[in-house]
Amino acid sequence: MGTVDANTRIDLYRTMVLIRSFEEAIRAEYHADKKPAWDIGAGLIPGEMHLSAGQEPVAAGVMAHLRPDDAVTATHRPHHLAIAHGVDLNKMTAEIFGRETGLGRGRGGHMHLFDPDTHFSCSGIIAEGYPAALGQAFAFRSRGSDAIAVAVAGEGAANAGGFHEALNLAALWQLPVVFVVEDNEWGISVARSASTSVASNADRGAAYGMPSTRIEGNDVQAVYEAAGEAVHRARAGGGPSLIEIHTLRLWGHFEGDAQGYRPDLDQVDERDPIPAYEAALRTDGVLDEETIGKIRTEAAARVEQAIQFAKSSPTPDPTEARRYVFAGAN
């Protein structure tokens, strides 16, 4: 395990704990008012909900290297990346609750979070965030900035057309992009082995002419180190890279997914990356009980504050439903 210093390790742990705390809270809120007859459209958080528990190492390890002026494009499962990149948690939570104070004034919802302050965006169409990242990278370079773009998508997206077009164009034009593939093993109910013709999407990145690597073990420090290289390369004008990270979808594809198709369901909790990392930090004397307790308490408090902000925010005015279709005078 390389040369990651103790403070960085604690920061990585802290980020992961904050993400998990948030996802657990959203999960509880989401289900609370949908009982006993589960109605997807009911409650304070209606609609689909795709949570990122288990994938915290990707977010913590990659985003640690980014600045607020770096762009991030993400998918229908965006919360961990948004949190780790510093998207305003209050506004993000308010958007999930569909409030006027949300990032999208309640119009976008949890799959369509846009934060211009941190150049963060996400979308529900698979692989379509990859081309957008190219454009942001192109703009940064055109203006002479060393800001970069990080495009994150799942292993399922690596079989979609937009993925391949984006990789080719980024390499051809040597754009400052880092492509991240989150291999959480499942495209809804379809295992990677049933969707993908190669064992590693790093081979596909290499085929398009960019330095590529695959990280095993959902290892936040290995992610951190690989991401550091890729980010540095992009910033220095060295062009794009691809990092595939073998991670873990701890919960269902969406909340309410019974996962009857998933044979490893009983072993999933053993693979939770956060207790494993916590244990490693304890063993190395980097974390003690007290610090762990403090980190967890602070995370819970921050999350609770965001949820209260959301719940006490006004709902959008229905007479304004058509506002913001076009830019300019509305």
Partner: protein, 343 residues
Amino acid sequence: MTATMPQTGSRRLSTAKAMVEAIGQEMERDESVFVLGEDVGAYGGIFSSTTGLLDRFGPTRVLDTPISETAFIGLAIGAAVEGMRPVVELMFVDFMGVCLDQIYNHMAKIHYESGGNVSVPLVLTTAVGGGYSDGAQHSQCLWGTFAHLPGMKVVAPSTPYDAKGLMTAAIRDPGPVIYMFHKGVMGLAWMAKNQRSIGAVPEEPYEIEIGRANVVREGTDVSVVTVSLSVHHALDVAEQLAGEGISCEVVDLRSIVPLDRAAIRASVAKTGRLVVVDEDYASFGLSGEVIASVVEHDPAALKAAPVRVAVPDVPIPYARELEYAVLPTPARITEAIREVMHP
């Protein structure tokens, strides 16, 4: 949770189960019929459009695909050209953007471009519709877009009976049929449902003619022409307004292409008033086409200006208050009928 009120004396299914029954019966009858798409196998389709088919027919006839719509829809087209009969699912109609070329430039045009020498007997099933906060990229209907492009039939059943009959007809059709099922009519256990999502379905195979509308409620004062989930809302409104002495005729189009213009005209000739309810975007689509069908034929047929209840030209919002402000709700349908009755 919306309760259903089954009628006595007949076997009833949900729209989803009726659709699956049709596919299963055709697969038994014709071994060239096969199913492919995302999560259609073990999962049974994320809106239960293929439940149980993998267990019955196995993985050579029910295939889970990667997230590669251009590739697997293209594959379905190629297989159809060679005489197979694919039922291929585009998970959400909103995803059409990533594969539209295969659909409108190939699937829909091959028969014409080949002078009728090459056929594409393919059914493209797809989930449409909103009302449960799935946001701008997962709540659209888009039948107007598909209908506008020549070369493909477009159907949208509203009931279990129609769902089975139209699916059977679609699979047997020698050309491409887009089969659009509204998530809100499927009768799913996890989504609020209208009672008409559960209904009587004959056990034996049968077809419903594609291109034929159905007058689901006769009336004399106003023709409410509509399709899919909006049929249920229109019927609910009609029942209520009957108590006020307004007699609504509700026409369930069932097919958007071919559009049953004769049925629309016959209804308006009787009532003289027209309300179109269309969950797709208002402008440049189905609702305008229905109105044009009437006024081009006989502008004097209308006693009052027609009213359309559609989604105004806005992306579907996520927040419930906003989403329900743009959907063609029973309240908006009621208001439209009153408007056309007392202009």
